[in-house]
Amino acid sequence: MTTATKNKKSQKSSVILDYLRPNKGMPSVWCAGCGNGIVMTAIIRAVDNLGLSKDEVVMASGIGCSSRMPMYLDFSALHTTHGRSLAFATGVKFARPELKVIDITGDGDALAIGGNHFIHACRRNIDITAILINNNIYGMTGGQGSPTTPSGAFSTTTPYGNSEKHFDPCSLAKAAGASFVARTTVYHATQMDTIIQKAISHRGFSLVEVISNCHTYYGRLNRMGDAVAMLNDFKNRAVPLAKSKKMTEEEMVGKFAIGVLHQEEKTEFCDVYQSVVDKVKGGK
């Protein structure tokens, strides 16, 4: 390793350390090799690259493995009730529009118990960046089926294979009105940095779905191997958006598109409300 790359590397890890909450006992609750850690470092790099101050970031989350993230990062943390974090986050953002609100959620948190709050946050197009870490299972409670567990897949509550259909969070968010929708995986760490950065910069509701590995439960129950094997699987199944558009439906079976899937300019909720306030106050 040359001195130049060594320096760069140590610089990078000190950036990560700089954003970890002081006094917070490590290790985290996460299993070794869990994708949550990869997403956390991507968020740190995105916030750092954007030059945001720690004080202007509020990180909200619900309940689940991924939702523990705000505990570890040196931002204001709002660790809420199961599925409700986007409603709490809406209160924060609407009360203090100058703050950057990042919401960390999982597939069970956002799409099952929190489904109602999820679609309405999308519909309002409120300027919140939701990062949905999708591992296709409930990790914290020990491997139960979630709304993104694929049909036929195994979990502790689908011991004979899942009889249900699964949600595509990105299609759901777009249909519900989110103005920025992207998908990436924990294998594509560099892409994840860029996407999260774009999502935070985007004015309006942004959803970043990160396909992640729960090797402890989903991987084990579905014989997918360890964390590395699961990351390899993501690598093999992810198709860049442009390429996916040229592929037939048949060719896309078992695969998924990654990249910024949808972005549009749309008025943002807090901005519109502020113009109402200005009008009402001015008209007095």
Binding site: D55, S76, T80, T90, G91, V92, V277
Partner: protein, 378 residues
């Protein structure tokens, strides 16, 4: 303005006037009969003062947004009725645990379930105390007139800010929907309490620090104090804990920051109690009927008085004992199948007879019903 402002308003609108007087800047809610006029009033009035109104997707989201706004530094409120209050219970528990000041107005209707949307009831009295699971101490106030609705809502905000806790205001359908001409308090006439903010450096700051009065100073998000706010049981810094030596102090704080200072919270209106041998005990709109009934039987020469509980929770045991010291009997009147009467029985010495008068058919108790009940007692 020489004369005080006089306005004709319904109880639900009085909630809005009181809340704005107290400093309300954020309302999130969901339509529900018979409380909807509170939300409508906030939607109209808040933008005029630079405040914010949002109609959320349900009551769970409404109180969640209110908590988000409160931790961000705004005085925040929601309003609902029984079914919506039931939905709010989950995050109300979060607010107790995270010590987040906020006000919930519950304009009570008949229950259980969707019950009687347009009929009066006082059957959420115990729910206001024991709604969420777990141990905590609730503060609940209850006005009985439109004018008092303004002042009790102001008091609810002051208590929420003083004690860093949610406060429930119990109205009922009759109070929410009846109209009266009232006199508004002038600016500065009623003292407004704002939450105590930290003065230490962010490095020294502990979000849930034990202080002499057990209430921790509370910064707003974005003010440089970055901390963890979680519904999981936490230590003084806000970090989750499973250690019994950290769990017990947190639980102690939740309870004792309130009950050790309950004299500041108790409020009771006493009418003709000085020589009363028998007393009506009531709250909310029933208290008005009790006052009239008292006048009627006093004219007939009986020594009867009326006590109106303006603070419901924590229950004013001692104050009630004191007020009823000369009574041989009390009549507890409420619009439910008997809720506060059990508290009264618990609080009063056994030599005072406790009689109960209840109505749970969606109608109010009339003064004559109270008078008739007294005939049994006297």
């Amino acid at each position: 303005m020489a004369d005080k402002e006089r306005v004709l308003v319904m109880g639900n609108q009085a909630c809005v006037l009181g809340a704005i007087y107290a400093g309300l800047r954020f309302f999130a809610g969901y339509p529900i009969t018979p409380s909807t006029e509170v939300a409508e009033g906030c939607a109209r009035e808040l933008p005029k003062i630079g405040g914010r109104f949002i109609q959320m997707e349900d009551e769970i989201g409404s109180i969640a947004a209110v908590i988000g706004a409160s931790v961000s530094g705004l005085k925040a409120m929601t309003a609902t009725s029984g079914p919506g209050y039931s939905l709010m219970i989950e995050n109300l528990g979060y607010a107790y645990m995270t010590e987040t000041p906020l006000v919930v107005i519950n304009v009570q209707r008949g229950g259980p379930s969707t019950g009687l949307p347009t009929k009066v009831s006082q059957s959420d009295t115990m729910q206001a105390k024991w709604g969420p699971h777990g141990d905590y101490t609730a503060i609940t106030v209850a006005p009985s007139t439109i004018g008092e609705t303004v002042t009790e809502v102001i008091r609810a905000f002051n208590l929420a800010e003083r004690f860093r806790t949610p406060v429930t205001v119990l109205l009922d359908e009759v109070l929410g929907h009846s109209r009266q001409i009232i006199t508004l308090p002038e600016p500065g006439e009623i003292e407004i309490f704002d939450r105590v903010k930290p003065t230490c450096s962010p490095e020294e700051f502990e979000a849930f620090a034990m202080t002499p009065n057990m209430v921790s100073p509370m910064p707003a998000y974005g003010e440089g104090y970055r901390y963890v706010c979680t519904g999981l049981t936490h230590d003084t810094k806000g970090f989750t804990t499973n250690k019994s030596e950290e769990i017990a102090p947190k639980m102690y704080k939740l309870r004792h920051k309130i009950i050790d200072y309950q004299d500041e919270i108790h409020k009771m209106r006493a009418e003709k109690m000085d020589d009363a041998e028998v007393a009506f005990i009531s709250y909310g709109s029933v208290a008005r009927a009790a006052l009239q009934a008292t006048d009627i039987v006093r004219k007939a020469g009986y020594k009867v008085g009326a006590l109106q509980l303006q603070t419901i929770w924590p229950f004013p045991d001692e104050k009630l004992r004191e007020m009823c010291g000369k009574c041989r009997a009390v009549v507890v009147a409420e619009l439910n199948m008997g809720q506060i009467v059990h508290e009264v029985r618990r609080a009063l010495p056994p030599d005072i007879e406790v009689h109960e008068l209840q109505r749970y058919d969606g109608e109010i108790l009339t003064p004559m019903q109270l008078v008739n009940k007294l005939e049994e007692v006297l």
